[in-house]
Structures are given as structure tokens and as C-alpha cells.
Symmetry: C2
Subunit: 463 residues, 2 copies
């Protein structure tokens, strides 16, 4: 028997174990999500962190809940063999607040199965997904008594409130987090049911523009033409920051951008990113300017400057002849490799100082972009694991349009980081009636199991 | 005795009558404003219109309350002599809602005198001012048994809700409104106590700009760069409508403008319009662009395009990475002679169609500007009456910055129209604790009386 055939046989036994224990695994994940762990409301955090430490300890991990300036990080490590590769599985045990409660068909913390889906807050985002990974580990141990590689598990308690302490935590615990790669099971698969593998994320930085001229609102007739209008000041300032052709015109903003590689473009070109279906879904007449860009280019390879909100003056019914005294604009800029939030904010501030010194820039939080090379050998191993577990090749995304704190792995730890979601596309995360399809959950356990086997094989090949 | 001396003697007798009846007149105006007549809430309108018809009838007027599509117009006419000039006194008997009631030191419909001021809703705007005119008529009749000229009184019941029916009413009743001039006693005198005479008003037109792209708000990461942002569309559109130098750049908007005459500029130059005191009062760093303009030019001789409100997207605390699906901008344009609201709206619409066809223009109401020649002989007569009654020359305003429906007199009836306010500058109209100084009220009765005499004299001179 060849090594490959032997490895395939070993994995098949794990799949068989998973199949035999499906009912038990479903019951256990439902028991897990029954415990609220709402970071924004500080509900149940310590209890669920404690459950996870016990769970990991039971799987032979050295585990503890490590205090931070916010909620604790659950960290577990099982070093199987010094020569084997080490995978860090990142997830988060905190959940979004469940409100509005009246919109739920069944209570958010009383998990219920309907039509092949488990409904509960956190079942998709993210407790059901990392629980699937833990069940994959358990299944390997049950069948073989050991894991194919070393495993670090890092479960955060503050992801839903913006991960304010993860960077400092990772900086401070580099040694305990030492790994060869990071895999996060979070977010949804493709609506078609095809799995998805993501190599990067855009970063983001938020800021506000505040403008006030007069001490109070005045009458637009009695003062119009005399008193400056902060809404006009903001409109004219914004017009200097991005033009109608869709180009961000803040000097220096594009300085650090590393253009996508040919390989990234080639992978992106294979994705089912159809402008017509996006337009149909959102009843759009057109995509954003510039008109000629492909969807991947728009979503992965360029920064954006979005006005999240613009508010000032009268907003009620009918008209009011007021000349308002203040206005506020909220913006975010999505960052691509290798833009830096603080550098971007510096450039925004310098631009505002030059064009509208009366406008105040309020700096908010930022998150760096992250990118893992799409030709990483671990990428090939993960694709192979997905194929073995689900019979489908994943769609490969060079980057997500959105932001996750993956930079703490790629930029602080310096290791490749992948996002490999298990949840159905209609998981309704952050919304009422959050759910996880039972088949997605089982696919997640199978994929997690295949992943551990594939990494050992990849390491064997590369050695 | 010369005619002039005789006329002065006749007027002095009227002044004496006013002085002798001051207490009675104050009691009666307080009784009048005790009756609510809130047009926006449809409270007390018919009752107060009825009181006015009785009042006018008692003064020998042919009077009635004439129904309109809204609240009735009170119209009275007393033709003293076919050869005498006819003055139309315009005012409004409706008042603003009194809310918030808890902010009043005494109840709004329980008139109270404190520190030389009568406090009550409507005492300044406008019931106390037109009641002073009626008392001036009564005083002439009491002393001389006749009036020096013919008088038409027109009291509207919808001024506080935008005078929606006055233009149609004036069109339909031209014959009954036939007069040589119109004088409106409304608004405040100068804060220094100097009376004010106004020859014109700016017009106004309101509109909204609505923009919607996607069917719903989307995530700024998952869709940023792909889905067009209506707030950017509106920002870029507005940038084409007025530039940062303060110039309105809508083609054709300035076409109909009649520049001010040298005489208007000369009169305006004498007004106490000090930029430094405006800046100090409103804690402004600067006046609106363009920087080099004088205050009168800004306020009287140029159109303005004011953003009254801009609202779209997230406006709560902190940040939200949303790409909003809709935004609304509310604007007004102040019009100078001889701009036309419908023409201006047509030009706005044409401009928006060319630059942002996805934006909808919602046309709202408009009011034409109005201008009376500053060299009208009636202007000289009014100034003389003010001097006779108050011992002070009025400040002459070629135009107000704000808008009143005076165009119905100058443009529909084709007669000169003047605004000659009696109320103190701190009358708190439209606000809690509205008040009228007792000395201003008495000055109003005296000025109204002098006005009737002066007109007869002016007519005599011009005849």
C-alpha cells in the first residue's frame, strides 16, 4: 500500500466516524450555542470561555483563557510531533446581540432544527464553525489516537466588537502562537454551494469630517449669501477627495499599493463575479464608476472611499428655509496591500487641511489589509482537503472585499492565513433567524478532518 | 393757516386722541390676541375672521370673510372720496402654533404685561401690528369723522402656512383690491429702535434632490467599489451646481436678473450692515464666499443656493461600514428681481438631467421676488409719516433677504408695495414668549395714523 493510499484510508475512517456520530455532533453543537456569549452586552463571555477551555483540555490540549484588556482569548495547543507542521485554527466565541427578539421564529438561545437547518444566534457566526473544527480533531483522535499535525486553537471573545485587543495579544504571545499557517472557518460559502478559499482581505479605516460655521442655525433668507454653509463646505471638500469618474484624488493615497500579481488576477478571473447578477439582485442600473472595471478589480484590488453617512440641517417632511450651522460626514476607506491605516489618515488630514482647514477630521479605528500568496503550498493542501471532504473544488478568492484582522497572522506572526468558511450563504449572520444548514455543518467537520490530513501530506511532499 | 399746518394740526389731534386712549387700546389688543387663530392646526380661524369682519363693519367698512380653497380672507373697504388715494393695508390674522407650551413664562393665549411688553402668541406676528392700523383708522374717525384717504384692509388666514391661496385670491378679486399702494406692517424694526422701510423682498423656490441606487443598503466592504453610492452622486451633482468660489453654476439661472439701480445701491450703502458685528454675533471666522462682497450685495442683490439639509446613510454614534442606498438633499434658491420660480426649477431640472439623470428633482413651492422703485412718491410720504409719528427717519432697505408674497401686489395688482414694521426686533415671533413692546405698539398706531394723513398730502402734491 502506498503512503497516499494509506493516508486516504486513514481519512476515510475518520469520515466514517463522523457519519456514525452525526446525531451526537448535532446535539452537541446545539448544546454549545445554547449558552449566550454576547460581547457587546458582556453576557456569558466568561462561562463560554470556560466551556471551551474544558473542551480543549478534554481533547488533550494545553488550554487556558488568557485575560486581555477586554474579553479573554481562549488559547489551546497540542504539539503532536516536533517535525510535523503546525496549524493555527482561529475563530471567535462571541456572538452578535440577538435583537430584535420578536423577529426570531424560535428564541435565539433555544436552538431549533427546521427544514434541515439549525437556528440559533452564533450557529453560523462563529460558534458552529469552530465547533465543527473541534469535532474534526475529536474524530481524528477517536479513530487514530493522535492528530496528523500539531494544532493551535485561538478563539477570540471580541470579534463582534471589532477585535480591539487581538493585535496586542498576538504581539505579546508570539511564541505560544507559533504555527506554519492559520485557517479561519468563518463567513459563508458561495450561494451555489461551492466551497470558498480566501487568501486575503482588504483593510479599512474610518474617519469623520465635522464642519461648523455659525454658532446656530439661521434663516436662509435673512442670512443666505452672508453666513457660510457647512454642508456646502463639506460637499466641496468631498469633491476634492474623489472625482465623478470614481478616482480617489487624495494625494499620496495610492503610494503604498502593491498591484495584484498575474496569478491573483488569473484566479480572480475564474470567479463567478457576474455584474449582471449583482445588478439584478440589487436592481441597479449600473455599477459604480469607473464603468470599465471588472467586479474582481473593484472588490479586491482597489481602495474605495465610501461615504457611510452625510447628515446636516433639516431632514423632516416638506421644506424648511434653514441655513444649518453644522454637518457631519462619516467615511470609510477600504485598503489594499500594502496600505497602512495611520498613513492613510495622515494623508486625509493633510488634504483636508489644505482644502478646507475649517473641517475637523476625527480619526477612528483602522485595520490593515492582509494577503497570503496564492501559490502557497498550503493553499494546494487546503484545496485538496476540500475536494476530499466535499467532492468540489473551492472558488479561490485572492481577497475579500471586506475586512478581517488576518493581518495579525500575516504581518505580526508572518505566516500565511486562509479563510475557509463552512456556513451556507444565507446563514443570516448578524440578523434574526441566524442558521446553519446541517449538511454544511457536517461538511465542515469533514473538511476540518481532511485539512489536518492534507497538511501532514503537504509537509511530507515539501520535505 | 396753510394747508400743511392744517394737516399737521389735524394729525396732532389724532395723536392726542391716541394718547388719551392708550390704556383702552392696550386692553383691546390684549382681548384680540386672547383668541387663538392657529392656521397650521385649524384652531379658531373662523371665529377670529368673524371678529375682524365685525370690527371693520363697526369702522364703516364694507367687510366680509371671503372663502378660499383654504382659510378665509378678511376683506374690508371704505371708500372715503373718489378723488383720494387708496391704501391697501395687508396683514394676517393667523398665528404660529404656540408649542412648546412649557417654554412660555405666561400662557400664550392669556396676554400678560411684564416690563413694558405684552406677551402673547400673535401679538407681534401679526395681530398686534394690524390691530394698531385699525386703531389708527378708528382714531382718525373719532376725531374727524372721516378718513384722509380710501382704505382697503386685507387680512389673510394662511400666512403662517405659506400663503398658498393669496395669489389666486388677488387674481380673482382685482377689482375689490384696487388701490394705489400696499403697506404691510409686519416683521421687526431695527434692533437700535430705528424704524425700517422696505421696498422689496427676495423670492424663493424650494426643491429636493432624491437619489437611490441599490434596492437596499449594502456592506461597504462586500460591495464597496461595485455598487454606486447615492451620497457620492449627490455630492458630485451639487459640486456642479455651485462652486467653491460661491458662484451658482446652473446654466441660465442668472438670465432674468435685473441688476440693482444706482439709487438702490446708494440706499443700501447707508444701512448699518456691518460684517464684523454679524461675525461676532454668530462667532463666524468669515462670511460666505465670495469673500469680497458687501453685506447688502449678499443679502439683497444676488440669488443664493442654500442646502437646507443633506441626509443619507448612517448618522448614529461611532462608525458603520454601510454603503447606503439613498440620500436626500433639500435646497432653496433665493430669487432676485426678475427671476421666476418655475423658470428656475426648469433650469435646475435641465441641469440635473444633464449631470445626474439618476437624481430626481422634487419641485416644491415658490414665491416670486418683489421690488418697488425706491423713488416712488409714496415712499417719500411714508418716510414723512414715520418721522412725524416717531421723530426718526427709517432705515430704507431696497430689499429684504427673506421672502414675503408681496409680488401679488407689485406683479399681479401692479402697485407699489412697502413693508413698514412696528414690532421690536426681539419680538420672538414664531418662538415662545412672543411679545410686543407697549411703546412700539403705540408708535404703530401713531405711524398708521400719520400714514393716512401723509398719503392724502402726497396725493395733493403729486396732483
Amino acid at each position: 500500500m502506498t503512503n497516499t493510499a494509506s493516508r486516504e484510508g486513514d481519512l476515510q475512517k475518520v469520515f466514517d466516524h463522523i457519519a456514525a456520530n452525526e446525531e451526537n455532533f448535532i446535539a452537541r453543537v446545539m448544546e454549545y450555542v445554547r449558552h449566550p456569549s454576547i460581547s457587546a452586552q458582556d453576557i456569558g463571555i466568561a462561562e463560554v470561555a470556560g466551556l471551551l477551555v474544558d473542551h480543549l483540555t478534554g481533547l488533550g490540549f494545553t488550554a487556558e483563557a488568557i485575560e486581555t484588556a477586554g474579553h479573554p482569548m481562549v488559547l489551546g495547543r497540542r504539539d503532536e510531533s516536533p517535525g510535523a507542521p503546525t496549524i493555527l485554527l482561529y475563530g471567535h466565541y462571541d456572538v452578535q446581540p440577538p435583537e430584535p427578539l420578536e423577529a426570531w421564529a424560535s428564541p435565539p438561545f433555544e436552538p431549533t432544527i427546521r427544514d434541515g437547518r439549525i437556528y440559533a444566534r452564533g450557529i453560523g457566526d462563529n460558534k458552529g464553525q469552530h465547533f465543527a473544527q473541534l469535532l474534526a480533531i475529536e474524530s481524528h483522535l477517536a479513530v487514530h489516537g493522535r492528530l496528523p499535525c500539531n494544532v493551535v486553537v485561538l478563539l477570540e471573545g471580541e470579534e463582534e466588537i471589532g477585535s480591539p485587543h487581538i493585535a496586542a495579544f498576538v504581539e505579546a504571545h508570539r511564541d505560544r502562537l507559533k504555527a506554519d499557517l492559520v485557517v479561519t472557518a468563518d463567513g459563508p460559502i458561495h450561494p451555489s454551494g461551492r466551497p470558498v478559499l480566501t487568501y486575503g482581505v482588504r483593510g479599512v479605516v474610518n474617519f469623520e469630517l465635522h464642519c461648523r460655521h455659525a454658532a446656530r442655525d439661521v434663516h436662509s433668507g435673512n442670512f443666505g449669501g452672508v453666513v457660510p454653509n457647512p454642508l456646502w463646505t463639506l460637499v466641496h471638500l468631498l469633491g476634492t477627495m474623489k472625482n465623478a469618474a470614481g478616482e480617489i484624488t487624495i494625494p499620496g493615497l495610492h503610494d503604498r499599493i502593491v498591484p495584484p500579481t498575474d496569478q491573483e488576477r488569473a484566479i480572480a478571473a475564474r470567479l463567478p463575479l457576474d455584474p449582471e447578477s449583482i445588478k439584478a439582485e440589487l436592481t441597479l442600473e449600473r455599477l459604480d464608476a469607473p464603468a470599465e472595471l471588472g467586479v474582481a478589480e473593484r472588490l479586491m484590488f482597489r481602495p474605495t472611499l465610501t461615504i457611510n453617512g452625510f447628515h446636516g440641517g433639516y431632514g423632516g417632511p416638506g421644506s424648511k428655509t434653514v441655513l444649518p450651522c453644522e454637518g457631519v460626514v462619516k467615511c470609510d476607506i477600504r485598503l489594499v496591500e500594502a496600505m497602512m491605516p495611520e498613513d492613510v489618515l495622515d494623508k486625509v488630514e493633510a488634504h483636508v487641511r489644505r482644502h478646507a482647514p475649517e473641517v475637523t477630521v476625527v480619526r477612528q479605528h483602522g485595520m490593515l489589509p492582509s494577503k497570503t500568496p496564492v501559490d502557497s503550498p498550503f493553499g494546494a493542501a487546503i484545496r485538496q482537503a476540500v475536494l476530499a471532504a466535499q467532492g468540489l473544488e473551492p472558488y479561490e478568492y485572492p481577497s475579500l472585499g471586506g475586512s478581517l484582522p488576518d493581518y495579525v497572522f500575516t504581518k505580526i506572526l508572518g505566516v500565511p492565513a486562509f479563510v475557509l468558511p463552512y456556513a451556507n450563504a444565507d446563514e443570516a449572520n448578524h440578523a434574526p433567524n441566524e442558521n446553519l444548514r446541517v449538511d454544511c455543518f457536517v461538511n465542515g467537520i469533514r473538511t476540518g478532518a481532511a485539512l489536518l490530513s492534507a497538511l501532514a501530506a503537504a509537509d511530507h511532499k515539501s520535505a
